[in-house]
């Protein structure tokens, strides 16, 4: 059965790009345009994996990460932080995310990480 992935990003183009790429890879993709929307979507329907952009309006990726982690059912869901910033690389674990990926149009790294996290 196909895994469900939630992607939160404020850039519509990015959302579209990832939706196409991940659906192509055989996942069911849900979208959110900011952190708050993402939290709502998670509460509605718990996904198998969440990808959060860090810099988003209303609620940013870090806050969303913390909020989602507080939902009991979501404690062990793999969450990937996802950004254009490079500078946080060393600190991602303290934010209780499972991976940290720098945005790129090259999807290889993202796809590999998703595959690994879902296997666990």
């Amino acid at each position: 059965m196909s895994k469900r992935i939630l992607i939160a990003d404020d850039e519509e183009n990015i959302r579209t790009l990832y939706k196409i790429e991940l659906e192509e890879a055989g996942y069911i993709v849900d979208l959110a345009s900011n952190g708050k929307e993402a939290v709502d979507k998670v509460k509605e329907n718990i996904p198998d994996l969440i990808i959060l952009d860090i810099k988003m309006p209303v609620m940013d990726g870090i806050e969303a990460l913390h909020t989602i982690r507080q939902i009991p059912e979501c404690k062990n869901i793999p969450i990937i932080l996802f950004t254009a910033y490079g500078e946080y690389q060393q600190d991602f674990t303290t934010w209780a995310s499972d991976a940290y990926i720098v945005k790129s149009h090259d999807m290889t790294e993202l796809k590999q990480t998703i595959e690994q996290l879902l296997k666990k």
């Binding site: 850039e11 183009n13 990015i14 579209t16 790009l17 990832y18 196409i20 790429e21 810099k55 254009a84 910033y85 490079g86 500078e87 060393q90 720098v102 945005k103 790129s104 149009h105 090259d106 999807m107």
Partner: protein, 744 residues
Amino acid sequence: MNFEAILKFLEDFHRDFYIENKIEAIKSLLKSTNINFAYLIINKQPLEIHKIIDENSNLILADLENNINKEVFQISENEKKIDIYNIQISDEQNVYGWLLISPNLELTEFTKVLKAELTCYLKQTLINQTYLKKAHQLETICLLSEKVSNFYDLKHLLDIVTEYVTKALNSKGTVIRLVNRNSNLLEVMSEYGLDDISIRRYGIKPGDGISGEVWSTKKPRLVIPDTEESKKLLDSKLKIRSLICVPLIFENEVTGTLSVYEKLSDKPFEEEDKIFLEVIAGLVSPLIAYSEALEREQNLTKQIVKNLENLHIITELNKIIMQPRKIDELLFLILTALTFGKDIGFNRAGLFMYNAQTGTFQGMIGVGCEHEYEIQVWEKLPDMTTVQWLELIEKNKIKNESTFNNTIRQVRFDISDFPIIIQILRSGSVYVSMIHERDIIKEKLHVEEYALVPLMGKEDLLGMLYVDNKFNKKPIDENYIRLLQTFASQAALAIENSRLYSEITNANELLKTAKQELLVKEKLATVGEMLTTLAHEIRNPLTAIGGFANIISKKTENPTVRELAEKIYVHASKMDNMFREFLLLAKHNTLSYLSIDINEIILDCIENFDYPNLKNISFVFNKTDNLIVNVDKNMIKVVINNLLKNAIQAMPKGGKIIIETKKENSYAVICVEDEGHGIPSDVLPNIFDPFYTTKFNGFGIGLSISYKIIKQHDGIIYAENKESGGAKFTVKLPLSTKEEAQNE
């Protein structure tokens, strides 16, 4: 006995003073007796023999010498022995001669009269002779006094004395030695006629040899032949039998000695000659003392004049030297002053600077020539004072072209190579080299005599001034030494001033550089922030563009669309990589240092260098192995890639890129050279400035990023244009201290 005959004899005998007539008188007297053998022997050296009567044979000298003190002795005559009777003619003081007769004559009034008359006569003769001699000597003394009373210089006076004394005493030669007050040694001042006698011509200490003994005892000495002392003289280098040495005494102090050597005749020196010499000595001593005093005074006056001149020179030189200026210019001026013209005029002068850390002296600068022929040029310099010359040098910025400069710069020695140095430094004053001793400076500078004077700064030793007169061989005397001493303290002060001056200049330079760097850093920081924000804003759409292009290229079936979409993808990737690189750099995270061979990084960069159209580009990598640096590998890669990219962009038609690594002191040096158009001179000073914008293709943020990275590594980066065209970028990175430790 005939009384009348005696009266007749007395009459004849006293008629005159000539010995021949006296002998005749005795002969007449003896005719009335049976005596057939009679001789008168006068006691002189050698014995003076007068035959009175000898009918059968001649007296043989050997017989006489052996028997002269016997009252009766035998000689052979026609194979029969005859007895000779010896009447000694003497008084209480002296033996004047002997009267030899045969056969025996009774001791009668006759012989008494003969003996008394002969004694009287011979005694008188001796006295006369003595007076004659004295008269002659007095004449000498008179002449000498006359000569010396209008003398004008000591040497001349002494030469007159030695010549007169030699002649007056009929001797081989004469020497006057005077006490040198500085060295306290007796030194030969004048000599006459002694060319073939090796007297001691070097300084004599008190009590040393005959002269030395006379000096210390203040008593004259007479050495006569056939004594122990005479034999010693014969055995010595002197090869003479007799001499007289008298002291020259003035105010109860010995000022010198007067020695006369060997009579030309067979006669030895006598007590009287000694007395004569004492008289001469008494006459000459005050004159010598006076003359010495006069000479000293003259020298003193000369010295004072000279000192005044020197003082003037030094004051004038000071005006020039004490102005703040670069140390090498200053040293050149100081050494020129030491070598120029009549004022000071050493043949060569140089400076050794001292390195306290290593304990070595290094030749820094020299003025003067290395070859004999050059000195003629030197001497033909225009007639002007040292000060005028120095001003000329300054005005025309004359450079030091002395050949000696090259020589002295190659001289370097350790304190331990040159033990005398400790002594020199301790004394702090001028050191003039020893005549017969070899040392490292004589060897290295090929010189026989030189002088060194330490230059003492306020706190430590700065170095040493060196001077010599290699070519004209003028001895480095007291005048020079005094001048050098004064000069050295001035020079030391000037050098220290100049050091201070250059330190201040350096500090100013540092301050300027620091200011500039601060400006660059500020700009970098601002630019960095701006670009960081911009990069983020651009990366999002860029990701989308690249991503969509990728999707299009995969989904389309139209080959043209696929190709174009792929192009978009590639270009988006490039841009993305650029931003990634930049963002990586803009981060304020710490660098992750790693000890690595710089060559490894460069090789990696060259092998994986990714740039469109590398067809006409060739890489030449000349490496020096084992250059371990402690760096962030990725950062240095960024720098190398930037430099390679620059080089390629500078050569649109292709060419060769030469990359070279080498070791320079504690730095690993990387040079990247191209064959392109070089860097315009107006761009060159600002090439690492991030704000500096230029149309000049390719130089932009890349170089200023490189600059920042290299600075973070405590390194240096700079650009220059090669004479052969093309640009050359040089990066210096500190070598890892670990690597240094291994080397040691």
